[in-house]
């Protein structure tokens, strides 16, 4: 476990990078140096006021002392975050949770599959691999063009999809993944990592299982504490694992095969 810090991080910038999607850059040397890909921070969006709980966000990128958070404005907490200005302080706890398994056999191709905001934690993973001269394949889906914020990657293979066809392939990110496997004809080694809405994750799990590819998922749950104290963020696991894991502490990264929800393959409502 990495050391956990409670910090008043300096806001370096906070810009809208796509529709309602912001990139918050925070100066926090301790968390930046301690973090591992897949971990998150927990931010108090209105110190002393409401909302009562901190809000969790994946670390999307590190550059020197600065960590980047990419977030979508969906409610009170994220609205308050959008009002942060350079020079403000942000009350954060981190780095939290476990991390992706990044040690892969040489020749293995990392597949990074993200839906919507679910792409944020995969960016840092992409950076990790690219830094080690491993070229990942990135699958990124969104509802529509305006919500895509990761448009171009000269150092990796990038497959964009939109539900409405306004950018990249029309369709779901899982269609794109399926097609990729058909083309790849099965004689390569892959390691898959995914993050996004759970119906999508279930489908990704089903596709990966069919092709015998190990898959790690980054899971989101509402969190009261984020540090394993409240037991609120339980997620059901399959036997022989213990019945419930804590997303904040045992996760947020899980092997797809241990989780109960990915067992319902073929759920069609993504």
């Amino acid at each position: 476990m990495s050391k956990i810090y409670l910090e008043q991080a300096l806001v370096y910038s906070n810009d809208e990078i796509a529709q309602d999607i912001f990139e918050l850059r925070l100066e926090t040397p301790a968390i930046a140096s301690e973090h591992k890909p897949g971990q998150f921070i927990n931010i108090q969006t209105n110190p002393g006021g409401l909302p009562l709980w901190r809000r969790p966000f994946s670390i999307a990128r590190i550059s020197g002392d600065i960590i980047d958070i990419i977030y979508k404005v969906i409610g009170t907490g994220t609205q308050q975050m959008a009002a942060l200005r350079p020079g403000d302080a942000a009350d954060i706890i981190g780095p939290l949770g476990n991390s992706f398994s990044v040690e892969i056999k040489s020749g293995t191709i990392p597949l990074l599959i993200g839906g919507g905001l679910g792409f944020a934690p995969l960016i840092i993973l992409r950076d990790y691999f690219v830094h080690r001269e491993i070229t990942p394949v990135l699958f990124m889906g969104a509802v529509t063009k305006a919500e895509h914020y990761y448009l171009d990657d000269p150092q990796a293979e990038l497959m964009l999809t939109t539900d409405d066809g306004t950018l990249g392939h029309q369709g779901l990110v899982t269609d794109s993944l399926q097609r990729y496997f058909e083309d790849a004809a099965g004689h390569q080694r892959f390691a898959a990592y995914s993050c996004g809405p759970e119906p999508m994750l279930a489908k990704v799990a089903s596709v990966c299982r069919t092709h015998g590819i190990p898959l790690e998922l980054s899971i989101e749950r509402e969190m009261a504490c984020g540090v394993g104290l409240c037991q609120g963020c339980a997620i059901e696991q399959l036997p022989p694992q213990k019945k419930y894991a804590l997303v904040c502490k045992d996760g947020p990264i899980f092997n797809a095969e241990v989780l109960a929800f990915t067992d319902h393959t073929g759920s069609s409502n993504d």
Partner: protein, 303 residues
């Protein structure tokens, strides 16, 4: 120099701020920036005889200035606690209060007997009021005869202080308090959570898997203060105040209402370092008001 030490019955505390059960784990596995010494004492998660997985998710909901939980007493069980946790926490320089919960009287007794053989436990807190476990336990918190029977049975088994943790979900908190004290409870802690629910309107069902959960946080502070105020006037044992405490002013208000010490629960989540922050502010307030001992303000709001 302001004296911030306090006593609850035979327990001497370095300061009056304790952690509330279920909000600090077992005290062994805390974020690095938390120093257990900042608290006057810690109360463990409720222990049951056997380990419990807890309830199905969703288990928590954020509400207006509060939260609902139905964790369902997820815990490692008393034996694992004795084996894995107690050896670690008994070394820490703070008061250790072990909270126990059961669904039958015999279960409470078994747990307490197992614990009573172990060194390093300063007191027991008896959870008779967990509103979100299906298999009972709740009747002890809402019925005077049941509560009396339970506390009497436990009283026979130990010399250590017994703290009965009262449920606020009753018509008369004074009657419950009296029953616990008559049965031999050395102290009382109140309040546990209020019964509450929340609705997932998109899916047309209760949010919590158990429908009902326990409401905690600043939302319930006025209810807690009222019940503490009443209990202070009706029984004569130390009270540990609980309910949404998050500021120095809150702690002072609870002490003035009649609590000798307090527990912090929900507000620990936002700020597990809260113990460190509040005591200096309380000391400063006492200093500004020329109050030399924190114990001087206990019950001060009573005419």
């Amino acid at each position: 120099m302001i004296d911030i030490r306090t006593e609850i019955g035979s327990l001497a505390l370095n300061n009056p701020i304790l952690t509330a059960s279920g909000t600090f784990g077992y005290g062994d596995d805390l974020p690095d920036y938390v120093d257990i010494k900042d608290f006057g004492g810690i109360v463990t998660k409720s222990l049951t005889r056997q380990p419990r997985d807890g309830n199905a998710p969703p288990r928590i909901v954020e509400t207006a200035s509060g939260m609902l939980n139905s964790i369902g007493l997820a815990n490692i069980g008393v034996e694992a606690f004795i084996r894995d946790k107690l050896p670690i926490i008994r070394e820490k320089e703070t008061v250790i209060i072990v909270n126990i919960a059961g669904s039958r009287l015999e279960e409470y007794c078994e747990i307490l007997e197992l614990l009573d053989g172990e060194a390093g436990i300063d007191a027991y807190e008896i959870n008779v009021s967990c509103p979100n476990v299906k298999q009972g336990g709740m009747e002890f918190g809402v019925s005077c005869p049941h509560l009396k029977r339970l506390i009497k049975a436990l009283r026979k088994l130990t010399e250590r202080p017994i703290i009965t943790k009262l449920s606020p979900n009753v018509t008369s908190i004074e009657e419950m308090a009296q029953a616990a004290v008559d049965a031999g409870s050395d102290m009382l802690s109140l309040v546990n959570t209020l019964v509450g629910a929340a609705i997932d309107i998109e899916n047309r069902r209760p949010i919590l898997s158990t429908i009902f959960g326990g409401l905690s946080g600043p939302a319930i502070t006025p209810v807690a203060l009222a019940q503490i105020f009443k209990v202070y006037e009706s029984v004569n044992v130390p009270i540990i105040g609980i309910g949404g405490i998050g500021s120095a002013e809150d702690v002072i208000a609870f002490l003035m209402a009649g609590a000798s010490a307090v527990q912090i629960g929900t507000m620990n989540y936002r700020d597990p370092g809260i113990g460190l922050k509040l005591m200096p502010r309380i000391e400063a307030w006492l200093g500004e008001h020329s109050i030399e001992r924190i114990t001087d303000i206990v019950g001060a709001a009573h005419a």
